[in-house]
Each structure stands twice: as C-alpha cells, then as structure tokens.
Amino acid sequence: MSGTGLAYRITRLRHRYGSRLVLDVPSLDIARGETLAVIGPSGAGKTTLLRLLQFLERPSEGRIEYEGTPTVVPMPIETARTVSTVFQRSLMLDRSVRDNVAFGRRLRDGHELVEVDALLERLALKPLAKTNARSLSGGEMQRVALARAIATGARVLLLDEPAANLDPRNVAIVEAMIRELQIRGTTLVLVTHNTHEARRLASRTLVLIDGQVVEVGPTAAVFDSPANPHTRAFLSGELVY
C-alpha cells in the first residue's frame, strides 16, 4: 500500500506498442502536490507516460497505483476525473472559447464554476470568450487548453509541453498560472523540452531517453551535476534524436 502522501507509485512498468518496448520505468513515486518535470528527446516515451498516468492505456507489464489504489483501464469515472491532461496538440472543440474552457466542468455536474470566468481573465482569454476556439492562433489555443484542464478542478494535471512555441509574454502568463496551481497543491507532471522551464517550475526532474529512466532527482542536481552520461549528453545538446 502506498503512503497517503503519494499521488502515483509506479512499479516495474514496461509498456510496449506491438513488440517495441517504448517505456521502462522500474520504479517511480510522485508525491501529492509536487511538480515533476519529465525531460528527454523526442520519442523518449514522455507522452506515453502521460497517457498511462491519465489511465488512457493499460500498462503492458507492471503496476501503477494512483492514490494508493492499483489503476485499471477504464478507471472508475469519479477517480478518472481527478486527473486531467493538456496534450501537446491543442485540440479545440468546435465551439466558443468559453464553452471549451467550461467543457470539462459541465461534464461533471452540468454547472459551471465561477472559476471559468476567472480563468479566462487569468489567461488573457476574456476578449476571445465568444470566438470559435478553432479560429484562434496556436498560442491562444494552448492557453485555452490549459484553462480547460484547470477548470475541471482535477487535483492532478499532466501537462505536455504547455508553453512550447509561445512568445515570452505568453510563457510568463502560463508559468504564472502553473505557479498558482502549485500553491493550490495541484500535483503536476510537466513534460517539456525546455530545460529552463523545468528548472523554473519543477522540484524534481525525470530524464527519459529511449524509453528508459536514466536519471531522476531534485531538479537542481539533475541539471547542475547529472550523474548519468546520457543526461549530460542530452543537456549539452549532443544527444539529438
């Protein structure tokens, strides 16, 4: 049984697509309220890890416990709803920005939290509230996707490159929002290519290369004195996939 302070406990997880091993995580704990950055080159298995943590896929082998209970797919809906994901591709529903942001909230109880309006304001989306979300720019869609996931009220948020391709002003807006979530105690798993972002936001960092966990530890230690040669190669830009 996991301790009460854990959001996830992963044990001997191996995940395959066909015969190809795409993820191998011998063990990993994610504490409630922590922010874990997941970094690594493209194709390292970062997004697959998020899908498993969101209960969208059943692990080929091994075990993922969520809040002390082994996960199953499909997960009971009440538990599944405590986790939400912002995928790397910001896919919008063919409706207004406001309706997109309120979508997950409405799925739950048919009512909207006042928070929807606050989130629109917070992420500089209020002037766009009535605009069809599909007509937005990429950066605006990324902010809508983040607001939409936050509005669900999930206590775990899995963020796949939430600030990629954003201009500095928008990066600041998104990162300020993420900091606010940290203060609220939301558990965050942040997949990023941006090592500076990981440094700014995450207390711990996991380095995935070719599906393998090569290093995990406090962010400062991983970046300043990486123990693993692969991590050093990746951080210095030598390891490019």
Partner: protein
C-alpha cells in the same frame, strides 16, 4: 394537388425521421467503436446505399402482400407501405454517412475529451456534436434520395388517387397520359419543395455552428 403535395411530405418526412432516429445512433456507434464484424456491417451499409429503390420496393411488396410474412399488417397500397420502403432506402444513407462523419473526428480530440473526464456516453455525444455538419449532410442526402424516388412508392403504394399518389408517381402518370405541361408543373413543384426543405436543413446546420 395539395393532397398530393401533403402526402409527399408526410411519407418522406416520416420515413426521414424514422431513418434518422435509427440511422444516426447506428452510424455513430460504428464510427466510435471497433469490434469484430464492423467491416461486414459497413460493407452491408455501403451496398444498401446503392440499392435500386425499385428492388427495395419489390422486397417490401412481397413482405407486405397477403401471403407475405407481414401481410397481416394490411399495409400494402397504403402510405404506411410507402413509408416503410422509403425508410429502408434512407436508413443506409443516414447510417453510413453518419459513420464516415464520426470516423472523421480527430482521434486525438477523442482522447482529449476522455482526459477531460467524459463518460462513454458523454464522449459519444461530444463526438457526434463535433461531426454535426457531416451528420446533417447525411440527412440531406437521404432526403434527396427519397423525395425524388418513384419506383418503390409506385410498387408498394399503387399510385391510387387520393390515397397513395405522391408527386413523383403523379408525374409518371401525367407524362404517360401525354399531359406534359402538368407533369412539368409537378416536377417544378417537387424541385421547389426540395429546395425549401434543404434550405431549412442547411439553416439548422449553420445555426449549430
């Protein structure tokens, strides 16, 4: 004449409604789910889309004739038989085109909707709503297919004046009698009615955006 127009709309309207009520859920289920036999059902639906209406009429005629399996219903040469035949013609169009529309909704968007906490039913409804333009197109195609149809309604309805005569069968009759002016006039009325009905459907499609 008004009775003919009214019956045309009644028969086509009810057939379209029944085909939509049955065809949209079937098409949505086929577009959403992956299961054994899906390809076979798809093949049957695609074939159904190309079925000659007169052949459908023939089957319905045989089924509803006095010695047929559904003869006890007493529907032959009544509007009910015409509605049944048109429903069978419209159903594969609605179901197959709805399936294509639902299938065309981005798979990653479905994952995103699940990750936002949708139940299976909420996911199905959301995807169907995303596919609404294609679903409306399916209904429009089915409407066009059955309002212009003549073979099946002629066979099972019998083109009885005041009872089962609709615009298309009236056009055939007057053309055969050499009254081309009247036949042409009815043809123009049919086209105008189809135009109005499609305009209403398109308006609904536009409003849902």
């Amino acid at each position: 004449m008004i009775a003919v127009v009214a019956l045309t709309f009644r028969v086509t309207g009810i057939a379209l409604l029944v085909a939509t009520i049955l065809g949209v859920p079937v098409g949505a289920a086929l577009g959403l789910a992956r299961f054994r036999g899906r390809r076979l059902i798809t093949l049957v639906l695609y074939t159904g889309m190309g079925l000659p209406p007169v052949v459908v009429g023939l089957f319905v005629y045989v089924a509803l004739s006095r010695s047929g399996p559904l003869g006890a219903l007493g529907w032959l040469f009544t509007p009910a038989a015409m509605i049944a035949a048109q429903t069978i013609i419209a159903f594969p169009l609605v179901a197959a085109l709805t399936m294509s529309a639902v299938d065309g909704v981005d798979q990653d968007l479905r994952l995103q909707v699940r990750a936002l906490g949708a139940t299976r039913w909420q996911l199905a409804w959301t995807v169907l709503r995303e596919a609404r333009i294609g679903v409306t197109a399916a209904i429009v195609a089915a409407f066009g297919g059955i309002i212009s149809e003549v073979g099946a309604v002629m066979l099972v309805g019998g083109n009885i004046e005041g009872q089962t005569r609709v615009l298309t069968t009236a056009i055939v009759l007057y053309a055969r009698q050499g009254d081309f002016a009247l036949a042409m006039a009815l043809g123009l009325i049919l086209i105008a009615l189809a135009l109005v009905a499609n305009a209403v459907l398109l308006q609904l499609q536009g409003r849902s955006r």
